[in-house]
């Protein structure tokens, strides 16, 4: 594979991505015109005069032809302007981008949970095929894939937060980066060592529990598990079947015949080859999680794009609905493009195809 051919491949993908985003923008824009109800109804008070309604429509530009509104909207988007939300009294782009980090943080955390659980589980399941652990992992995968995440979220909250008080029920607390900064600022290793040496477990737990990073972790655990469960089950199955496939191949037999230790055969050779398709799916799922976090965010009052989108839909806050959908769509396209690039780098046959 030459650098030129890789570059051409990536350029092609990027151009495709731009057209897909344009398509998303167009569909999202048109949604407003095929949805029943007039946005002025939601902005104006119920007993507002017709004059006030006309004035609001004029201020929002709703009385212009659709194509003018569309071109105007596209021009605004190119400058990062998603319009002004009169209902939320804010620039839509400012609100959407303020919510994005919380959603990305949740999607990444769900991915981390999923990858950390699923790959070891898939490997163990494959290497101990037809043993109880394999049956357990297979059952977990089946249940994980079949369970709707809104139900799982509600059950986790009722059981682990409300019943046992192990986690907060909802909200985000501080974000990850402020939590890291806060923890670095106030963490005292000397104190931790002293408490540990003096065997003062409760005091140690109390001290650690106050650290911002731990507070952040307590808030994100249940939403991340909720969002990541389906994904965990999926990757577990993928890893298991991939491992079984690889372990049956002749190069594995050759490795074993050569006298390589079994751990090396499994983890260096078989697992390594299994991970290529897993990485692709992980990347694609990350994009899906950004959009799919809507329900999980609602259950946990997580202040991300999903919560914002639901609020905006309820209030028919069009600039925010459009902005949220476009960012979710664009996020998916960008992640897909990055995964394509990674795949092309790892497997030159992709470029050749």
């Amino acid at each position: 594979m030459t650098t030129v051919s890789l570059g051409r491949f990536l350029l092609k993908r990027a151009v495709q991505g731009v057209f897909v985003i344009w398509g998303v923008v167009t569909v999202v824009f048109l949604l407003r015109f095929i949805t029943p109800g007039d946005p002025v109804t939601f902005i104006a008070p119920l007993d507002a005069s017709q004059e006030l309604r006309r004035r609001i429509a004029a201020e929002l530009g709703l009385n212009r032809p659709i194509y003018v509104q569309y071109l105007d909207y596209l021009a605004g988007l190119l400058q990062g302007d998603m319009g002004y939300s009169y209902i939320s009294n804010t620039e839509a782009s400012a609100r959407v981008f303020a919510r994005l980090p919380a959603t990305v943080e949740l999607a990444v955390a769900a991915t981390v949970v999923a990858v950390a659980l699923s790959i070891p589980l898939g490997v163990v399941s494959a290497t101990r095929r037809h043993e109880p652990v394999d049956y357990g992992a297979t059952l977990f995968s089946l249940v994980g894939i079949s369970t709707p995440n809104f139900w799982l979220g509600i059950m986790l909250v009722l059981l682990l937060a409300v019943q046992f008080g192990l986690f907060p029920t909802s909200q985000r607390g501080t974000g990850f980066l402020p939590a890291v900064a806060g923890t670095v600022g106030q963490f005292d290793p000397g104190l931790v060592v002293r408490l540990a040496v003096e065997l003062r477990g409760e005091a140690l737990l109390a001290y650690l529990g106050k650290l911002p990073l731990v507070t952040w972790l307590a808030h994100i655990t249940l939403p991340a598990v909720t969002l990541g469960t389906y994904f965990t089950a999926l990757i577990t199955r993928l890893t298991r079947s991939g491992m079984l496939d690889e372990l049956g191949k002749s190069y594995i037999r050759a490795s074993r015949a050569k006298g390589l230790p079994e751990s090396l055969v499994r983890y260096k050779h078989a697992l390594r080859n299994t991970l290529a398709p897993v990485i692709t799916v992980v990347g694609l799922q990350l994009g899906t999680l950004i959009g799919g976090a809507v329900i999980t965010e609602a259950v946990f009052a997580w202040p991300g794009l999903g919560t914002e989108l639901i609020r905006a839909i309820n209030l028919r806050d069009w600039p925010l609905i459009q902005g949220s959908l476009i960012v979710i769509g664009a996020g998916f396209v960008v992640v897909n493009t990055l995964v394509d690039a990674l795949q092309a780098y790892l497997d030159p046959r992709v470029v050749a195809d």
């Binding site: 290793p189 005091a203 655990t221």
Partner: protein, 563 residues
């Protein structure tokens, strides 16, 4: 409530241990090897809420103190005073902190802690002075407010009459600052000015404006003119009022934190820190309350009531609101053009059953458009009785036997609106000579048809709700039941004439008498199927002494620690 000293209680310990387990799991994933400081966990100790049935237990803080000075943890009994922090979770976050640039209750609930009006209402609805020390009608169309002395804004500046006049003009005059969406809330008011040489403000109205004091008791928060007009001020994200709380931090769409204003002109509030959160899901709000993460939650759904009633640390707090739910019937189309048929519909509905079974008693029956406690309510008018036989008889007399009706209703806009509509449809349909179906509608399109100024686009029969926080009959009857009303589907010369007479009557008692007569007429004419007065149903922590208000305002100044 059990006191906690240096030791952790079992519940806190379990929380910390649970967090630790999660930390280990994630730390392991990240390759930290599990030896990071995240090897522990716990609740959000920062807010000092702990569990709802505990005292504020800043367990880690205790440890901090004891660690900081190198003494034993057992010395932590001198726990720092955490004050009385209160958290309120609403369904929506405030859309702005500018008190004049919104029309929503969730925003009102927040900004009213930082800003105050010239008048206000007692929880019972009675109009009383706030930033004014007196108010009077000087002549028809002109009223005067005496301005209170020794009131300071949060920035330390004194309140002046000029600030009050400016605030009124900022709402009613589009040339002063903003085009306020509240200008129709001060209906009829045309402007305000400072009385030369006196600490007073005069407010002019177009016409008599008999409800002007009611309007000022509900609307118009006072802002400082010089602060608003300063170049570096952002009223949408900052506050500077005279209220009992001043802004500490604001994360748009997420959280508002306020602290007690120590220079408040009345006694400082008992609440030391006030936090507003938002959770759109009703179940999430209840979970927060049960877990002690918040102290007051709004809009508890009837199906969640038992979870709160059974809890040790929380309770249900309900109050009749200022919103009436009704079925409008278009007077200009058959069969609703006949008063007998409209009355028949009222007799067909079993309101008591709806309130008991659908609303689980969180509702009051109505028989007139004006709610009890409002100016103009007629105490002699009772709700229609449930009498299906009489209903069938009236339908026969009207000549519209076999009428096929369709009730248009939103779903989720008002408390159990769709379920109420289902019950109404079932009861009307059970009459032998009328059939009825339900039509679930998107609220936007339904409201659009009702407010487009063209009665012919409105559905003949629909369910809608109307809130009136002025506590005066006129603000319900004029928009909903007069010929020119913005949301009216009814026209009756007698009603129009009585309403006009009331609006031009300066004598309060005489006016009230006219409005009472008007309500009796409307009961007889039955332009609506009179349904229920909606309740505001809250959940409240037992650590907070608080009673909800009819006007849906959540007043943290009235909160105190429970005994």
């Amino acid at each position: 409530m059990p006191e906690e000293d240096s030791s952790l209680n079992r519940r806190s310990f379990v929380k910390l241990a649970g967090g630790a387990a999660a930390s280990v799991a994630l730390a392991g994933c990240g390759g930290d090897g599990g030896d990071t400081p995240t090897d522990a966990g716990g609740e959000d100790g920062g807010d000092g809420m702990g569990d709802g049935d505990d005292t504020p237990t800043p367990t880690a803080t205790e440890t901090d103190d004891s660690m900081g000075d190198g003494t034993d943890t057992e010395t932590a009994t001198d726990e720092p005073d955490m004050g009385f922090p209160v958290t309120i979770t609403q369904g929506q976050p405030p859309s702005t902190l500018d008190p004049h640039n919104h029309r929503e209750t969730p925003t009102d609930s927040v900004v009213l802690h930082a800003y105050e009006g010239v008048l206000t209402r007692e929880p019972t609805g009675e109009v009383v002075e706030k930033l004014a020390t007196g108010f009077e009608r000087v002549e028809p169309g002109l009223v005067r407010f005496e301005v209170r002395e020794d009131v300071r804004f949060h920035n330390g500046d004194d309140l002046t009459p000029r600030d009050i006049a400016y605030s009124i003009n900022r709402i009613v005059d589009g040339d002063v600052g903003i085009e306020s969406p509240q200008n129709d809330q001060l209906a009829g008011v045309t402007g305000a000015s400072v009385v030369d040489g006196e600490r007073a403000v005069e407010v002019e109205s177009d016409g008599l404006n008999p409800v002007v004091f009611s309007l000022f008791a509900s609307y118009c928060d006072v802002m400082q003119r010089s602060w608003v007009q300063a170049d570096d001020t952002e009223p949408a994200t900052e506050t500077n009022g005279t209220g009992p709380f001043q802004l500490s931090s604001y994360e748009e769409g997420v959280e508002v934190v306020m602290e007690r204003f120590e220079d408040y002109w009345r006694e400082p509030a008992d609440v030391t820190e006030l936090t507003f959160l938002a959770a759109g899901e009703p179940g999430t709000r209840v979970n927060q309350l049960l877990e002690g993460e918040t102290d007051v939650i709004v809009n508890v759904q009837p199906q969640e009531i038992s979870r709160l009633s059974d809890a040790d640390n929380a309770r249900v707090a309900a109050e009749a609101s200022t919103r009436i739910i009704y079925n409008g019937m278009r007077y200009d189309v058959e069969p609703f053009s006949d008063p007998d048929f409209r009355r028949a519909m009222n007799y067909a509905v079993d309101l008591d059953s709806i309130i008991e079974n659908v609303l689980q008693t969180f509702g009051d029956p109505t028989g007139q458009p004006t709610l009890e406690g409002f100016v103009g309510h007629n105490p002699d008018v009772d709700p229609y009785e449930h009498d299906p036989a009489r209903a069938e008889e009236l339908v026969s007399e009207s000549g519209f036997e076999g009428a096929e009706l369709e009730l248009h209703t939103p779903n989720g806009r008002y408390l159990r609106d769709f379920e109420i509509a289902q019950a109404v449809v079932e009861q009307v349909d059970s009459l032998s000579n009328v059939s009825c179906e339900i039509n679930q509608r998107d609220f936007g399109s339904l409201a659009g048809e009702l407010t487009d100024g063209d009665i012919t686009t409105s559905p003949p029969l629909y369910l809608i709700g109307w809130g009136n926080s002025t506590f005066d009959a006129s603000q319900t009857v004029i928009p909903l039941l007069t010929s020119d009303g913005a949301v009216s589907s009814y026209s009756n010369e007698e009603v129009d004439s009585m309403m006009e007479q009331a609006q031009n009557e300066g004598d309060r008692e005489e006016r009230e008498s006219i409005l009472q007569e008007l309500n009796a007429t409307l009961h007889d004419q039955a332009p609506w199927i009179f349904l229920n007065r909606q309740y505001s149903v809250y959940g409240a922590s037992n650590r907070v002494e608080w009673t909800p208000r009819a006007d849906e305002r959540i007043d943290a100044y009235a909160m105190s620690p429970a005994e």
